[in-house]
């Protein structure tokens, strides 16, 4: 075994400091368990950073990885997830054969049997109820080629408007905010801006834990000459917050108030870029009027952030020459998500800090390939950033696919994920196909989700590599190949497209998601209007070529890319075309935005209600290439603590786990470093409720209950935190998923659910002490039953006793 560093205990590794005038030095991280006989080009798929790497293969098995020194994203570095996550590929419990539920039990079947059943059910349901009874719920972890194929199947083959995925939970607000401000999706800046900027602002983004390599990049600046100033907005004292020049800890759900206060200070300081505003934006006056009342004192009242800290941050923002802002779930999964994310855009616009080196906005993604769902239209968007409200855009797609215009659903916004689940619940969607994601752990209010998945009149297909909490509830399970076992491309937050190649064969009969979709399309016999097969490709390369055509002339133009180019040494940021053969580092360098009525990806929505702006209204005030400045007033969160549930509850990810731990939980080093969830609470609250470190704590909301061990400190009194996405597959002994408690509610614009606040109560819980109070017993039993699955057969191993702590959590960042 070779390991260049112990990334579990030394998360970010040694510093390679540099100043703004020098480029980021290389540092190659490696972890192999055996000497590979060959290295295959890959890209890490365990967070949205997308680090370039080589996959080491020996005797047909993955034996390790090493960072790619030439890659623009990481210059050779890898974090703990990247260095250890690959171990899951070799896990003993991979799914290797299709399963069909017969007599209430999932039983092995052949691919023919499984696919014929899926196809028969699809056809029957479409015939009886139209394609409006079919829904797809995809992932942020497939490859671009797979998403695009899926999008064509759904939108031009079946013609269903019900396509979305778990990217609705992670990145929908990023897309919405970019569209609302700049007319189209896509980050204006690039990671390279971090190398030269004077100031970095992280809003609701614990980058140190979520994108460890991106944080190394920032740490290297902080350790070098003339380090940038760092503003961190986060209610918890995270690893990121510890390094801040100014750490602002607002009450959950109050981002808009705080950002309005910061914008107000910038205006008050006379730091607005009048020339830029006049030439390149519309809407400034309304913003100015809106933020007027958000004085530091009022902001303190609304958010709990001391006025002097607001002022300190405001001063930095008013005087800095360059600024990079990053935004993530603390904004996206909270009250007024889109409105708040847009205020970050506004801050850059009023200061004219966009489209120049050192000034970037990174509306982050939660998952590695979520950017691609947005581009390809596998989520609730249309392929190539097209506008569902613009008939010309629909006609382009109809021509490309050679299908009638009205085959493509575009009569109203594509159905968002939460609505898809609601249609399943009310019974109008009867067929739901889930790929590579685990809604039984990741959606809010899990009790409800389990009930929906178990409905008799809902046919559930789950395509995954492991028997997840969701797969256990399926009618058909299709074993899928994962990263390292298939070739494809994906795009990171920096718009940089990477290729990841097949290094080994998938286990058993597992197939790539692409092959499964292609097989389905063949068996469904989808045809275009001339009778030719609708899907005209049969491998990843073919899908990529088809996708390139779909992007021609669009903001995310891929036409200049080839697999060979991507293999040449590094990822390349789109647009890549004849004009930009080597890609595009920064968008909007000329201050011209794709907001013209004919180009815009959206006509916009009302931040408070989500009401769509009509095409006529938009045309009447056509911004014609100017960015849109849209203000927002603060609104109180929908659920606030009261006598019955007196504490704020918030959730988040940790450094060693990703998504629902399906993969990272099977990588031993990662699983051991963060084996279990916990509840983090302040010393004050611990005392009030008589709770000591490591005690079991019962956390209840109006929707469910969980039992976690206590970790005390580094959090504001009145707030408790539980890391999300600890499910039941590796511990069915107790309800522990944070989402048992969260709300079924979402942002009016992006439709992203609210995971960041809820009202809860806590109490010390000792199973030995006494029987739980009335009501609680049945709730926990119910929850435990739900975890076990509808027939209980596959969970014979469920322990009846509540588990004891396994090991102590190493860190809680």
């Amino acid at each position: 075994m070779t390991q260049t560093r112990d990334s579990i205990n030394d998360i970010w590794g040694a510093r390679t400091p540099h100043g703004a005038d020098a480029s980021w030095p290389e540092r190659v991280d490696e972890h192999i368990t055996d000497t590979p006989d060959r290295w295959v080009r890959g890209t890490c798929v365990l967070c949205s950073n997308g680090c370039g790497l080589d996959i080491g293969v020996k005797d047909g098995r993955i034996v390790g990885v090493r960072g790619l020194a030439t890659d623009v994203t990481n210059k050779g570095r890898l974090g703990p997830k990247g260095l250890h996550g690959w171990v899951a590929n070799n896990a003993e419990d991979r799914l290797t054969r299709p399963l069909i539920r017969r007599d209430g039990r999932l039983q092995e079947a052949t691919w023919d049997e499984a696919m014929e059943l899926v196809v028969r059910r699809s056809k029957e349901i479409v015939e009886q109820h139209t394609s409006g009874a079919v829904g797809f719920y995809t992932s942020g972890q497939l490859f671009l080629e797979e998403y695009y194929t899926l999008a064509v199947i759904g939108k031009a083959g079946l013609g269903t408007p019900h396509m979305d995925g778990n990217t609705r939970l992670c990145t929908a607000t990023a897309a919405a905010a970019l569209k609302e401000s700049f007319g189209s999706d896509g980050q204006p800046g690039a990671y390279e801006d971090l190398d030269v900027t004077d100031t970095i602002m992280h809003v609701g983004h614990n980058v140190a834990s979520q994108q460890t390599v991106l944080w190394m990049r920032i740490l290297d600046r902080l350790a070098g000459p003339n380090p940038p100033k760092l503003i961190v907005i986060d209610p918890r004292r995270t690893f990121t917050a510890e390094k801040a020049t100014v750490h602002l800890a607002p009450r959950v759900g109050t981002n808009v108030a705080l950002l309005n206060g910061l914008i107000r200070l910038v205006i008050e300081a006379g730091a607005v870029d009048r020339d830029f505003l006049d030439a390149h934006t519309v809407g400034y006056d309304a913003l100015k009027k809106t933020v007027e009342t958000y004085t530091p004192e009022r902001v303190e009242e609304l958010t709990g952030v001391p006025a002097r800290d607001v002022r300190a941050a405001g001063e930095i923002l008013a005087t800095t020459r360059t600024l990079v802002s990053t935004v993530l779930q603390g904004v996206y999964q909270s009250m007024q998500a889109t409105a708040a994310a847009v205020q970050v855009n506004n801050l850059h616009l009023v200061r004219g800090l966009i489209g120049k080196p050192g000034s970037g906005i990174l509306q982050m993604n939660g998952q590695p390939t979520s950017q691609n769902t947005r581009e390809t239209g596998a989520d609730g968007d249309l392929p190539g950033f097209r506008n569902w409200g613009n008939p010309d855009h629909i006609r382009q797609l109809a021509k490309l696919w050679n299908v009638p215009v009205n085959k493509i659903p575009h009569w109203s916004p594509p159905t968002h994920a939460m609505q898809i689940w609601r249609y399943c619940e009310t019974g109008s969607i009867k067929f739901l196909w889930i790929q590579a994601t685990n809604p039984a752990v990741s959606l809010p209010e899990l009790g409800r989700i389990r009930r929906i998945l178990q409905k008799e009149d809902l046919f559930v297909v789950v395509q995954d590599a492991f028997m997840t909490e969701t797969a256990r509830l399926a009618d058909v399970v299709l074993p899928a190949a994962i990263w390292g076992e298939k070739t494809g491309t994906f795009t990171n937050v920096s718009r940089t497209v990477h290729i990841s190649c097949k290094a080994v064969e998938p286990p058993g009969e597992a197939r790539s998601d692409l092959d499964i979709f292609l097989d389905y399309a063949r068996r469904m016999d989808f045809r275009d209007q001339d009778g030719s097969p609708l899907i005209r490709w049969d491998d990843a390369r073919g899908a990529f070529e088809a996708w390139k055509e779909c992007t021609r002339g669009r903001p995310c133009d891929y036409t200049g890319l080839t697999y060979e180019k991507l293999l040449a040494g590094s990822g390349i940021p789109w647009p890549v075309n004849e004009r930009h053969p080597d890609g595009t580092l920064r968008l909007y360098t000329d201050g011209v935005f794709p907001t013209g009525a004919d180009e815009a990806e959206t006509y916009g929505q009302d931040f408070d209600t989500g009401a769509s702006v009509t095409a006529e209204e938009y045309r009447a005030n056509d911004p014609k290439g100017r960015a849109l400045i849209k203000p927002a007033e603060h609104q109180e969160p929908h659920e606030v603590p009261d006598d019955a549930y007196p504490l704020w509850f918030t959730t988040g990810r940790q450094v060693y786990h990703f998504h629902t731990r399906t993969k990272t939980g099977r990588a031993r080093a990662l699983a051991e470093a963060a084996p279990d969830a916990f509840v983090q609470l302040s010393q004050e609250d611990a005392q009030r409720y008589g709770i000591e470190q490591d005690d079991w704590v019962l956390v209840e909301s109006r929707r469910g209950a969980i039992i976690e061990r206590a970790r005390i400190g580094n959090i504001e009194p009145g707030l408790v935190f539980v890391p999300w996405h600890y499910g039941s597959w590796d511990d069915p002994s107790r309800p522990r998923a944070a989402n048992e408690l969260t709300l079924t509610e979402w942002d009016p614009v992006s439709k992203q659910p609210h995971y960041k606040y809820a009202a809860v109560r806590i109490s010390r819980y000792d199973a030995k002490d006494a029987l739980p109070p009335m009501g609680l017993m049945s709730r926990t039993i119910d929850a435990a039953r739900g975890l076990i699955g509808r027939h209980g057969d596959e969970a014979a191993s469920a322990k009846s006793e509540f588990a004891r702590p396994k090991t102590t959590q190493r860190v809680d960042g």
């Binding site: 109203s412 009302d606 408070d608 209600t609 989500g610 009401a611 009016p748």
Partner: protein
């Protein structure tokens, strides 16, 4: 002078809108966006009622029996199921348009009266009423295909 007549009309219409928004929010709790947004929109209409108070004092209010009939015609009480939701939103759209029209009529009168206060209230409230209507329409468009074609 019949300004009081329209003040009465808009007053009554806004009151009914608040009432129906609340009912729909309560009844359609399983549709969280409908619940939350209707509560928000009810708060807007309540604010409008507050703005109206001094104007009613100034001009007097002539209550007209007509809106009562309108309510009966439009809203019998919340309905269930996806078609029921659609019909409830449908009625809310009509009711908010009724309010909108009142604001337009009053704004015209305000200009003729050179009453800046009245004009400002009509403008501000009218703008928000329009946002209410826009929400109902957006949500109706979303719900209609599924409710009419699939379920």
């Amino acid at each position: 002078m019949h300004v009081g007549n329209y003040l009465g009309l808009v007053h009554g219409s806004e009151e009914r809108l608040v009432d129906v928004l609340r009912k729909v929010a309560r009844h359609h709790r399983d549709e969280p966006d409908v619940e939350q947004t209707c509560l928000l929109l009810a708060a807007w209409s309540e604010k409008h009622l507050k703005f109206l108070r001094p104007l009613v004092e100034k001009y007097g209010e002539e209550k007209n029996p007509e809106p009562d009939d309108l309510e009966v015609a439009l809203f019998h009480g919340p309905r269930t199921g996806s078609l029921g939701l659609l019909r409830d939103l449908h009625d809310l759209w009509l009711m908010s348009n009724e309010v909108q029209l009142c604001w337009t009529v009053l704004e015209q009168a305000a200009q003729a009266l050179r009453d800046d206060d009245l004009e400002r209230v009509c403008k501000e409230c009218g703008k928000e009423t329009k946002r209410q209507t826009a929400f109902f329409l957006t949500r109706i468009k979303q719900a209609a295909p599924q409710a009419l074609v699939v379920a």
